[in-house]
Symmetry: C2
Subunit: 332 residues, 2 copies
Amino acid sequence: MSVTLKDVALRAGVSRSAVSRTFTDGASVSPKTRAKVEAAATALGYRPNALARAMTTGRTKLIGLVSNNFHNPIFLEVFDRFTRGLQERGLRPLLVNLSDETDPEHSVRMLRQYSVDGVIVASSTLPLSFAKAFRDAGIPVVHSFGRHASAPGVHVVGIDNVECGRMAARTLVARGYDRVAFMGGPEAATSTQDRATGFLAELALHGRVTVTTSYEDAYSFEAGRREMARLLSLNPAQAYFCGDDVLSIGALSAVQTAGLSVPGDVGLIGLNDMEMARWQNINLTTIHQPIAQITRASIELVEEMLEDRDRYPEARLFACHVVDRGTLRGLS
Amino acid sequence: MSVTLKDVALRAGVSRSAVSRTFTDGASVSPKTRAKVEAAATALGYRPNALARAMTTGRTKLIGLVSNNFHNPIFLEVFDRFTRGLQERGLRPLLVNLSDETDPEHSVRMLRQYSVDGVIVASSTLPLSFAKAFRDAGIPVVHSFGRHASAPGVHVVGIDNVECGRMAARTLVARGYDRVAFMGGPEAATSTQDRATGFLAELALHGRVTVTTSYEDAYSFEAGRREMARLLSLNPAQAYFCGDDVLSIGALSAVQTAGLSVPGDVGLIGLNDMEMARWQNINLTTIHQPIAQITRASIELVEEMLEDRDRYPEARLFACHVVDRGTLRGLS
DNA sequence: CGCAGCTTTGCAACCGGTTGCAAAACGGTT
DNA sequence: AACCGTTTTGCAACCGGTTGCAAAGCTGCG
């Protein structure tokens, strides 16, 4: 079938070990045999079989990329950056779509069967325990976009969602809003929980501001639109902190449909700063999440763990900042 | 390290072959030994190593998923469907991001090193030759969203872009537009070429309609917006067929910014029918591309090729249809 | 009980590489 | 030329499975 070590060895008139050595760096081969082998190899079009190599070295260069966020446009950028970053380092992403499951067992087993060198869990909604299941199975893991914890147990890279909530609150207060609300994603999502916590905690420091909260079943346009339509028919707040840009855009749409103006009648601030947020017909004020830094750091960490499996777990959090566009009124 | 065949065999008091056989279906083992083996296996938490198995069977169950469309939101849905579909069949997607490259050689080599069982090229812009490189390397391949050709040489699944162009033309003509234009994506993209061809061919049948064309460097919002802004400052057409929904939305934004109305002053029809197109604040009239059917058929074909590597290449094209929303005027 | 015919089992070779170890080759000294 | 210290090389075992083949075990029948 395909050309193997033996074929090359035969043609070059050397032993299989010699061939193997010219293809593994750090091995000692004389320039003479190396030349012979390389000649034979290119003549035959030989490429070492990664799987066979993996069997003896124990390194596959496969990285499990596990996510359950296949519906949020921001994750297209996330996948883009992860795949490119991994490829640049000679690592191969084995993609796992977790859309329905929440039980890590199945993924752990599967990724172990393929002997992945490491796993990146890219999800803003999975609990910390998910990543821990990989660690417990002895697989290096980093939880990207995960929840910050003081003693994480696994590497976590992302943003401080509590702090983001606070930031949103401070922004709304600074703009003079005094009846505000939080519109979150799924109540089970760690990101939503933390954003709510920070938002409410910060507002509590500003006595006169009243706040309400609601949670949607998904970070989706339709959920945001529906909820905002409902709220408008009641007694809406002056400004909303939406747990995600897509939700915000849904809400924005509902406000416009109702014939009201943004930011005149209702203020909106989102989170993520996805590409769409800067489209002129959306022009969403939002909190920027530094995707590039997060993905880069995640890859770095997983790579470091390949060297030192017992690297002490750390949390790397990146700062966010408000991007002021057209859906909140100016400083008062 | 991990528990192997031998460990289980030892504990169950049988030979390694016996253990192997209980884990490969279609092999003959007596109920008695099967029971013993299974007991030992679960006690030790044994899982067969997929890579080792792959070495002897020649089947890895890995499928290369190659794409260069990491910036078009429609592809998030594409990846979602591909990964789930593959997983359901016990296949594992090895994701390859081709963003910069156009040369297949590198990907072919890499995927061959990992002994993938097959490859799905998911791209609307790559030429047919790209997929052929895999076929020539002896790897089963299907080009998803690829160009239809009468003698494809490889499996192609997608839509008939020429026909879509015609459909757009017929639609615009039926609505009474007589100065229309095509706004395409990259001129090198096969999808854009074919859509333009069909569009122009159909219009040629309707003498009195005039048409202009322009091409953007990417299927992106910014490109659509910039181009439409430029066109508006000149002598714009009455209606535009945009080669992609994202382009349309960019164009839409430019029209709105210019203080003009859609469809009053300018008509727009896109292609893809991505989720965003039905958002109320966009509400784009567009041609629906049946993603679900395309991905499903692609997976089916690649799976069939695993059985019969020399399966005669076929092109499977799915019909598209116009989804009438708010960016074209009604039937005249 | 002996034997035919079928099923189950274990042996051993193989998949395509890597690597520890000892022997061979090399280069430089005296 | 003999000797010594380094490289370089090939042998053989191993990674964790699968599988062809022949021997062993079982069942039923005369």
